[in-house]
């Protein structure tokens, strides 16, 4: 083609992209941490024999996982205030991404829990531990090791979902990129650089997770 690449506009606004990346990472970290807590509780609820715990958990996971996150983002930002809950745009996005992460992580954690032999719980019971102590000292640490490989891809896609925050004007990475686009229309160049930033970040996340996985691997 006779299109000549010109990155000048992108480099001029590179600071904006980096600031956007930092915000994206911040959103992802906070949301995933909150989501992990939700996910853990929900995963145990999903496994519970008690329908009062299991049913709402299943409903939550089914609904959230089948909705496009954009709809949730718009709901939290525009409809919740009409119901008396007013959060600023960053908080409302974090709320949504946490709830969204929670549903995904719950499924990941549940798979991790399923692979823990029942005998370990019984061994814990037999030495007099309570169920809560068993969950904390035995089940959770083992589950965490079990899920690390699949956790990595979930975390990466949740990180990529922070791009949806652009829709409510949170100045994260995608927002910053679009801002360059509307100014310069150097769309191809902007997305090339932006996707390189996303890919590099995702690689770092994957690498970090693999590092943790190796560190926590049990000697055998």
């Amino acid at each position: 083609m006779n299109y000549t690449l010109n990155f000048a506009a992108v480099w001029r606004n590179f600071d904006g992209l980096i600031n956007g990346l930092v915000l994206s990472l911040g959103l992802a970290v906070v949301s995933i941490l909150i989501g992990a807590v939700i996910g853990l509780v929900v995963a145990f609820a999903l496994m519970s024999k008690n329908p009062v715990a299991a049913m709402p958990a299943r409903l939550y996971v089914t609904i959230i996982r089948n909705l496009p996150i954009l709809v949730l983002v718009l709901f939290a930002y525009f409809a919740l205030p009409q119901m008396g809950v007013r959060l600023d745009k960053i908080k409302s996005f974090v709320l949504v991404l946490s709830i969204y992460s929670g549903a995904y992580l719950a499924e990941v954690f549940r798979a991790g829990l399923l692979s823990i032999p029942r005998g370990l719980t019984e061994a814990g019971l037999a030495i007099g531990l309570t169920s809560t102590q068993i969950r904390k000292s035995i089940i959770a640490p083992l589950m965490f090791r079990n899920v690390l490989p699949s956790l990595s891809s979930t975390v990466i896609s949740l990180f990529k979902d922070t791009s949806l925050a652009a829709a409510i004007a949170v100045p994260e990475l995608t927002f910053a990129a679009r801002k360059i686009n509307v100014e310069s229309f150097r769309v191809i160049e902007t997305w090339m650089v932006t996707s390189a930033i996303y890919i590099a970040t995702c690689f770092l996340i994957a690498f970090g997770m693999r590092f943790i996985e190796r560190r926590l691997a049990l000697p055998r």
């Binding site: 990529k160 769309v187 890919i199």
Partner: protein, 219 residues
């Protein structure tokens, strides 16, 4: 604009159905193409010689690290740059299929590697070639193992199809936005769209469960 939401909905009914139809066709096409490609990706990852494995691993890692939006834009513009003049629909489906293939590839690899080596050896021992072993012994087992994760990917594809609105494919989200830009009832119509996406994905999930039950091995 004194009309109610229901009036507007009635006026827009065909447009919405149209968009829904488009969303479903995009999803089906990209899931099918992506899955076929993904099976080869998975095969290469599980059984390829190391140079091939390296290339395919780079492919999946890069694709999975890129937001789908960026893939969609790249497919549309870079294909043009490469002299391949794809219409937005084909470019979008191509992007989603590539995205899908990287995920399916990982799923297939995982499933293949979970099959015990003894299966391959037993097949070899009765004289099957690798091709026969794969089609008769490995794939039928891997497929069952893949199914739940594959269904999740399919649902992700439906959600990702929203991003084709950016290159002007008239799928459900763009159709919704068009309606909103006429009557400005954004909340109502976004949630209608949300509900429709939910219905589609829920149907996929149910279907997946059904197939899973149907193909479960007795024990």
């Amino acid at each position: 604009m004194s009309q109610s939401f229901l009036d507007q909905l009635w006026i827009a009914r065909f447009v919405i159905l149209n968009g829904l139809g488009m969303t479903v066709s995009i999803s089906i096409l990209s899931i099918i193409a992506g899955s076929v490609l993904g099976i080869f990706v998975g095969l290469a990852l599980a059984y390829g010689k190391w140079p091939l494995r390296l290339v395919v691993r780079a492919y999946t890692d890069i694709i999975r690290g890129t937001p789908v939006l960026v893939l969609v834009l790249a497919s549309y513009y870079i294909s043009a740059a490469a002299g391949l003049d794809l219409k937005p629909f084909s470019a979008g489906v191509l992007a989603l299929a590539i995205f899908c293939s990287s995920h399916v590839g990982e799923i297939v690899r995982g499933a293949l590697q979970a099959i015990s080596k003894g299966q391959t050896e037993a097949a070899k021992a009765i004289g099957l070639t690798f091709g026969q072993t794969f089609t008769s012994v490995l794939w039928p087992q891997a497929m069952r193992q893949c199914l739940p994760a594959w269904v999740n990917t399919a649902a992700e594809m439906v959600k990702a199809s929203t991003l084709l609105s950016v290159i002007g494919v008239a799928e459900l989200l763009l159709r919704t936005q068009e309606i909103i830009s006429r009557n400005f009832m954004s909340l109502q119509f976004y949630f209608l769209a949300g509900a429709l996406y939910f219905v589609v994905n829920f149907a996929i999930e149910r279907f997946g469960k059904y197939v899973e039950r149907k193909t479960a091995l007795p024990s």
